[in-house]
Amino acid sequence: MPHAFPLFPQQASTVAPAVDHLFWFLTAVSVFFSALIFLLIFYFAIKYRRRSQDEPPPKNQVINNIPLEVTWTVIPMILVAIMYFWGAEIFVRNAQPPPNATEVFVIGKQWMWHIEHTNGKREINALHIPEGVPVKLTMTSQDVIHDFFVPAFRVKNDVLPDRYTTEWFEATKVGKYHFFCNQYCGMGHSLMRGWVYVMTPEDYEKWLNSGVTGETMAEQGEKLYHQYGCITCHGTGKGPAFVGLYGKPVRLDNGQTVIANDAYIRESILFPSAQIVNGYPAIMPTFKGQVTEEQVLQLTAYIKSLGSKERNTGTP
């Protein structure tokens, strides 16, 4: 049976009203021009209809009017310029997560969403977030391209294999909202969806700490650090120490300097030979195929937890 049938999506994030304002502006422009053209066509079509088959075609036809041409070139130009800057402003804002945002990690795979919070709490096809707090998703895929789309928040971004993309939002209304995989990813594409639960910060806190395995992502990462033998090099000086690595510039042996962010650490684990730290031999084996994307995120969380204090080793 047909459900209640909405005509406009809920607004549940800080950017949603901004996007909707832009939407209504474009709609106003569109309605104006469509109406203008429809009315003119109807008016001309009736006023100048051919009254008899042998009606002589009009003479002295107006076929050029430069001021008119200029007008209807310049006015649309001004309008699209407004649309452009308006859209760009929101777009750029959407591309910059606030530094204090709560981090959540999202892994897409055919055809489910795997979500992990920094304290180690995991969920599948569901995302719990607090109201009024910016949340940043760090997303990656284990197979093909997916896309994480929350209509009520008016944001989406593709989720790519072998790469991190991000997306952020600040929910403004407690409730339950759809999220969809919005990039065609094969057979189960339309089943790859779930719910975002926006909770009051207190409820969220309660939810977050209920039924957790007891290990945060960083703790799990530390376990892996021992389990995969990272410690045999990185704890012994054969490889650079991790203390204070995160977020700091690293000098490479080819003279370049890179920032040790999530992507760099991920690459160091999966493709160690791509970038070699200056002063160290390229002996680190690749862990591609051994550690999952999830474990990479945990290792990264561990390295992050070691802080970005001044580095005492690593870059001679």
Partner: protein
């Protein structure tokens, strides 16, 4: 036909020019110019190609429409390459992966063999 017939000698000279430039580009590869190696090699290649186009392909004696066609193709190819490469090398740190390649002096190449 109202076609221009170039003297045979011209073709031989062009050929010799191409020959010289081939040897040149090959030998320069053994000199370390840093990132300029590729640039120099490409410049020489462009010179060679223009020789072939101008003389062997008779562009010099052709209708300007033909030049326009050639120009258009090169122009759109340049657009395709520029805008595509432009995307890859302007990705910000938040969308990293490649970003770490471009923090500083991305073009330096100094492989030790």
């Amino acid at each position: 036909m109202a076609e221009h017939i170039a003297p045979r000698k011209l073709y031989i000279f062009v050929f010799l020019g191409l020959l010289v430039m081939t040897v040149l580009t090959w030998q320069i590869a053994y000199i370390d110019l840093g990132k300029w190696n590729t640039v120099v090699a490409l410049i020489i290649a462009i010179f060679k190609a223009s020789l072939v186009v101008t003389f062997f392909m008779h562009l010099r004696w052709s209708h300007s429409m033909i030049r326009l066609v050639l120009f258009a193709a090169i122009f759109w190819l340049a657009i395709m390459i520029t805008l595509t490469v432009g995307d890859f090398f302007s990705r910000s740190n938040e969308q990293p992966w490649q970003a770490s390649y471009t923090v500083s002096q991305p073009m330096v190449s100094s492989v030790k063999r």
